[in-house]
Amino acid sequence: MDASLQKVDHSALRVNQAVIIALLLVSFIANAAWLAALVAAVMTVGALTRQPGFRPLYTGLLKPRGWVKPDVLNDNPEPHVFAQGFGAVVLWAGVVALVTGPAALGWGLVWLVTGLAALNLFGGFCAGCAVYYWLNRLNVPGFVKTPPPGAFPGMRPRV
């Protein structure tokens, strides 16, 4: 096993993605840009604290009641932090577009974040993580982690 890998609870990540998808869907249907802004804010705080933004929902409610079981894998947490931050930036851009006028662009960006979160939740592919590993291959400073052994960049590790 790669010694630099850490234990990452993928259940916490999946709960985070599921809540993001659900809230963004509601924000679109209800035409509530403020809700998209709230999700962006939570994702920003999550990226800054290096935790899934909606992790308290998992640790405080779902996990203690046994509704969601932990799924701890050997993985790099940094790409997931980057992916959440990247998603937050795109979502903030969408919110700005919604507030300033081009609603189609704004909701398009909201749907982009929703779609990528769904791809991660249902397909196990983290696009933001793939971007992180791509930047690592380009030797961009700060992007020091490589994909876990045997894992395609961005794909959920199999171990």
């Binding site: 679109f28 209800a30 035409n31 701890v72 779609g115 249902f122 397909g123 794909m155 199999r158 171990v159």
Partner: protein
């Protein structure tokens, strides 16, 4: 744009996502069926349908949901079904051949060992049972009268 229209648009986009996923799964199965090599099926006994189950030692949903579901099928169907378990972390070449991106992943194989269904993520016993019935009838998801008839003796 009123709420109803937005709701319909959201449903349409979700449906599009589901269709894309199904198209990708179908393409994956067709690709595997066209490939003569079937690594991982060394112990396969032709003549009975079965399940190729990819797991790993650290996979929590495999332990808590997928394995019990397979044990339930084994108890119900006995020798009518064969189940082959593969540690995707130890046999990465086999997992790559089958296009396994995460665990658990289950492939339902027909009596000739050709994949008919794939489940990415946990698959419940009931779903696997239906897929086995379909695979036994030689189908790939369409449970027609022939599938139902043949299912009786599965």
């Amino acid at each position: 744009m009123d709420t109803l229209v937005r709701f319909v648009i959201a449903l349409a986009l979700i449906g599009l996502g589901v269709l894309l996923y199904q198209a990708w799964s179908g393409w994956q199965l067709r690709r595997l069926r066209r490939t003569p090599a079937r690594p991982g099926l060394e112990g396969w006994q032709a003549g009975r349908p079965g399940i190729l189950y990819f797991t790993s030692p650290d996979c929590a949903p495999c332990r808590t949901v997928q394995r019990p579901a397979l044990a339930q099928l084994r108890a119900e169907l006995g020798e009518a079904v064969q189940i082959i378990e593969i540690d995707a972390s130890a046999r990465t070449g086999v997992a790559d051949h089958w296009g396994v991106l995460s665990v658990p992943t289950t492939f339902v194989l027909d009596a000739g060992g050709a994949p008919r269904h794939v489940n990415h993520g946990v698959a419940r016993a009931e779903k696997l049972r239906q897929q086995l019935q379909s695979a036994r009838a030689g189908g790939s998801g369409d449970n027609g009268p022939r599938a139902r008839e043949m299912a009786l003796d599965l």
